[in-house]
């Protein structure tokens, strides 16, 4: 029943995609607006298919329909309901199903959002591209990643449940969907980039439209990555949160490209430049999501996260090849005709800084990509096997990250076109003093190490610059009588809040990497041990607790004479042989220090000592806080801020700018084939915050 429903739903989705492609294709070919308008309706069919398939799978999981292979492999009667729901994304076929659902939601959102312009060939092309991508994933589910295959032979009475690592922390319930929402979201800007190249309309109009979609995807991906780091910290028990694992890199690579795009697209909006580069970044972002999926799902690389490997490798690789061929072909075919004639006047300008930012982010992405695939390349060349470890990534990315922090500090202070030395002096004075003061205080308090100190000083510099912008924007908003909150809403202000979040994450990363301590202690009940100024005491002999789905061995450990923490090791009944640790974390006030306990080895015989690993790291909690701030800042950046279109006079009254915005809203719909003249000269009217 569930299998039948699920398969029919997947088929329905695929039919929707194919029909959409055919109808839109014929409409574009014969230039029939009515057909183009009809073509968007199939998105609902795709969504219906995806929703029905997910419902069928969840129903099968919740009703323990072990006649489905996926359920038999990933569900068990003893798994709590909430983790049974989350089992959908604990293995490959289900995660493809989730991917299809997310993509279908984006598809319908695009169709609804652009419903009044569905006859525009550019929108039609973008929708068509999304149908093709969605069609690929539905086809995967009919072929090699079919979630609705039936078990051969007798139906089992119970299953093993999800991998124990995936069912012992609530973060597993939200981390994958949020990450997917971001990862898959880059399909929308990709589709519009392809459409812009195909139609040759690389004007600014569509860009303003897709910027917000990119921001949504970027924000969700950022939060998803941080949630993943948090999950790994809370579950894996080694006290770390980021190991440059292929799966982590797979999510980080598109993030880097998209971050570069979010910055350089502003140059295009203001100055009309970097059009082809921006398109390339969007194409690269999407290609990297597909490459990442291949690297982590095909089993070519060993990964801590290799929870699901299967035969979809060749399919995804082929799709990756098609995406690349289309992207590169379009750029090669159209690129030179679409390039803008303008050039950057001075390296010491906002656009100069964005360019530097792009070079750094592209370099960053290259370094991470190289480290990820290097073992494969070396093996292909001389058959040798090697692993690229954390030292490579840390050493290579450190200077890039520090330079980015520095840019983050000065770029917001730079005006467009050209900056004078005096202007910079005025604007950077306060942030520079803050940075210097931070450095002096830290050195005086005994902190050492070049890299972390640089990170803290530059972080303070960047944070002060961001706060300065926010204060100025808020003051201006109050002066204009439009409410202080206007000072934190909108692209520029929301962006500054994102910058603050990134600075906090960067500082926390540097601090925890540089000043962490880890040790293992063998303790008898009542004994204590000290590490980095913290005392841990094993209070009682370890206890064994029976849960519905697992047996846990719990150690009661008192930290600094205060509350008792309980690291444990659990053995899941349904998973023979696999024991999973659950660390316990004590965070001191303001998140300054984390004391991380994991139970390494409970005593074998009564009277034996207990082995506990203790990790003391500073500022770990700041990582999670910084991630939340990035999410919040993105949200504020998406909200419409002060309307200041390039042609709107800076001194226009509120009502006049609203009028301008409305007028522009219509203007942007012009379906002409010629790109608009870049509004560079008028953009220079923009008054920098004073």
């Amino acid at each position: 029943m569930n299998a039948l429903l699920g398969r029919s739903a997947v088929l329905l989705g695929l039919i929707g995609c194919v029909a959409g492609v055919l109808v839109l294709g014929s409409g574009l070919r014969h230039r029939r607006p009515a057909v183009l308008r009809a073509g968007r309706q199939y998105a609902w069919l795709v969504l219906a298919g995806a929703v029905a398939a997910v419902v069928a799978m969840e129903r099968a999981l919740l009703t323990h329909d072990f006649s489905l292979t996926f359920v038999a492999d990933n569900a068990s009667r003893s798994t709590p309901v909430i983790f049974t729901v989350a089992s959908l994304w604990s293995a490959l076929a289900g995660s493809i199903l989730l991917w299809s659902l997310v993509l279908a939601v984006y598809l319908v959102a695009v169709v609804v959002k652009f419903r009044h312009r569905s006859a525009d060939p550019l929108v039609a092309w973008a929708t068509l591209v999304m149908y093709v991508v969605a069609g690929f994933f539905f086809a995967l589910m009919l072929g090699p990643a079919n979630p609705f295959t039936k078990v051969g032979g007798p139906v089992p009475l119970d299953g093993p449940g999800p991998n124990p690592l995936l069912q012992n922390h609530p973060l597993m319930i939200i981390h994958p969907p949020v990450l997917y929402a971001g990862y898959v979201g880059f399909t929308v800007p990709f589709a519009f980039a392809v459409a812009a190249l195909v139609t040759g309309r690389v004007g600014e109009g569509w860009l303003i439209e897709t910027r917000r979609w990119t921001l949504v995807a970027w924000g969700l991906l950022s939060v998803g990555i941080v949630l993943g780091a948090w999950w790994s910290y809370e579950v894996l028990g080694w006290g770390g949160y980021w190991a440059w694992d292929p799966v982590e890199n797979a999510s980080f690579l598109p993030w880097l490209c998209a971050t570069a795009y979010i910055h350089s697209v502003m140059v295009q909006e203001r100055r009309g430049m970097l059009r082809v580069w921006n398109l390339s970044l969007l194409l690269a972002t999407f290609s990297l999501t597909i490459l990442g999926t291949f690297l982590t799902r095909s089993g070519v690389l060993n990964s801590v996260h290799a929870f699901s490997q299967s035969a979809i490798g060749p399919w995804i690789l082929t799709f990756f090849g098609v995406v690349l061929a289309v992207s590169i072909g379009l750029i090669g075919w159209r690129g030179d005709r679409l390039r803008s004639p303008g050039s950057i006047d001075s390296p010491l300008s906002r656009e100069g800084a964005f360019l530097a930012n792009n070079v750094l982010f592209a370099g960053f992405a290259f370094v991470v990509l190289l480290g990820t695939v290097f073992p494969l390349l070396v093996e292909a060349v001389n058959g040798q096997q090697l692993t690229v470890g954390e030292p490579y990534f840390n050493q290579m990315t450190q200077p890039l990250a520090l330079t980015l922090l520095f840019l983050m500090a000065i770029a917001p202070a730079l005006p467009w076109r050209k900056a004078s030395g005096e202007l910079l002096r005025t604007r950077l004075a306060v942030p520079a003093w803050v940075a210097a003061a931070t450095l002096v205080i830290l050195v005086a308090s005994g902190k050492r190490g070049l890299a972390p100190l640089l990170a803290f000083a530059l972080g303070a510099f960047a944070a002060a610059a961001a706060v300065r912008q926010l204060v100025l924007a808020t003051r201006r908003a109050v002066a204009e009588g439009s409410g202080w909150w206007r000072g934190i809403v909108g692209r520029a202000n929301g962006g500054m809040i994102v910058h603050l979040g990134v600075v906090i994450v960067a500082v926390a990363f540097a601090a925890s990497q540089a000043y962490g301590h880890r040790a293992e202690f063998t303790l008898q009940p009542g004994q204590s041990a000290r590490l980095a100024g913290h005392t841990v005491t094993l209070v009682d002999p370890v206890r064994t607790i029976q849960h519905a789905n697992r047996t846990s061995v719990v150690a009661d450990v008192r930290i600094d004479g205060g509350p008792v923490y309980r690291p444990q090791v659990s053995q899941y009944f349904s998973q023979a042989g696999a024991a999973v640790g659950t660390p316990s974390v004590h965070t001191t006030a303001a998140g300054l220090t984390d004391v991380y306990l994991s139970l390494v080895a409970p005593p074998v015989n009564p009277g034996d000592p207990t082995v506990i690993s203790v990790t003391v790291q500073p500022l770990i909690a700041w990582l999670w806080f910084g991630g939340a701030l990035i999410g919040l800042g993105t949200l504020l950046a998406i909200l419409p801020g002060r309307r200041r279109r390039p042609t709107a006079p800076a001194s226009a009254s509120a009502s006049a700018s609203a009028h301008q915005a409305r007028r522009f809203g219509r203007d942007r719909r012009e379906p002409t084939g010629t790109p608009r003249v870049p509004a560079g000269t008028r953009a220079a009217v923009e008054v920098p915050p004073a």
Binding site: A243, V276, D336, R339, H517, V611
Partner: protein, 212 residues
């Protein structure tokens, strides 16, 4: 658009270069085998396995690899902190089979201590002999191990048949054993040279290892 502007071809050339590089890249990816069961080259292949002896911290008492002559032995370098090791553990349990069977598993610790490893093995169903490496990691040096999990399949004559970097699967190991059994009678491998030490010491590259 009066006088045609002289066009540069940056985008075309850039795209062409990218296309060539990425086509080669896809070619490389397409020809990779799965990392699970990936056999690695090693100077030890076809040679007598390096000596491996010490105290078995699971069962207690002395252990010597030579005592397992006559059986196919998987020498598994592992650590309790290594997540892929934990993931491959059920496969090892399957391959180890009955204590009296013709296959066996021996664990060797890599950058880990017997305390946590003993608990790890017990929790994950490992009942086979396990040795702690010396302070300098002599066994890892002798065998050329860079990071866990790495495994070596040693045949009944003590000859190294295969090296695996990363996880192994029992099915694949059993197939190798079956193939080796089928090839009995094939020319014996020269046993003259003593095995040379392979790769340099283990680097700091421990996937998922502790930081800080």
């Amino acid at each position: 658009m009066s006088a045609p502007r002289r066009r540069t071809r940056t985008a075309l050339y850039g795209a062409g270069t990218a296309a060539l590089l990425l086509a080669a890249f896809i070619g490389v990816l397409a020809t990779r085998k799965s990392a699970v069961d990936q056999q690695a080259t090693s100077p030890l292949l076809g040679k007598v396995a390096p000596a491996l002896a010490g105290t078995d911290f699971v069962g207690g008492g002395p252990f010597n690899l030579t005592s397992l002559r006559g059986r196919y032995v998987l020498v598994n370098f592992f650590a309790s902190w290594c997540v892929p090791c934990q993931q491959e553990q059920p496969q090892l349990v399957r391959f180890a089979g009955e204590p009296s069977g013709d296959t066996a598993v021996v664990g060797v610790l890599f950058e880990d201590t017997p305390g946590p490893a003993r608990a790890y093995l017990r929790a994950n169903g490992g009942t086979w002999p396990a040795l702690a490496d010396s302070d300098v990691g002599q066994a890892a040096l002798d065998w050329g191990v860079r990071g866990p999990p790495e495994s070596y399949l040693v045949d009944p004559n003590g000859i190294v048949l295969a090296k695996f970097i990363g996880e192994v699967s029992a099915a694949y190991l059993e197939r190798l054993v079956a193939e080796a059994e089928g090839a009995v009678g094939a020319p014996a491998v020269a046993r003259s040279a003593a095995p040379t030490t392979a790769a340099p010491a283990a680097s700091g590259a421990r996937a998922g290892g502790p930081t800080g």
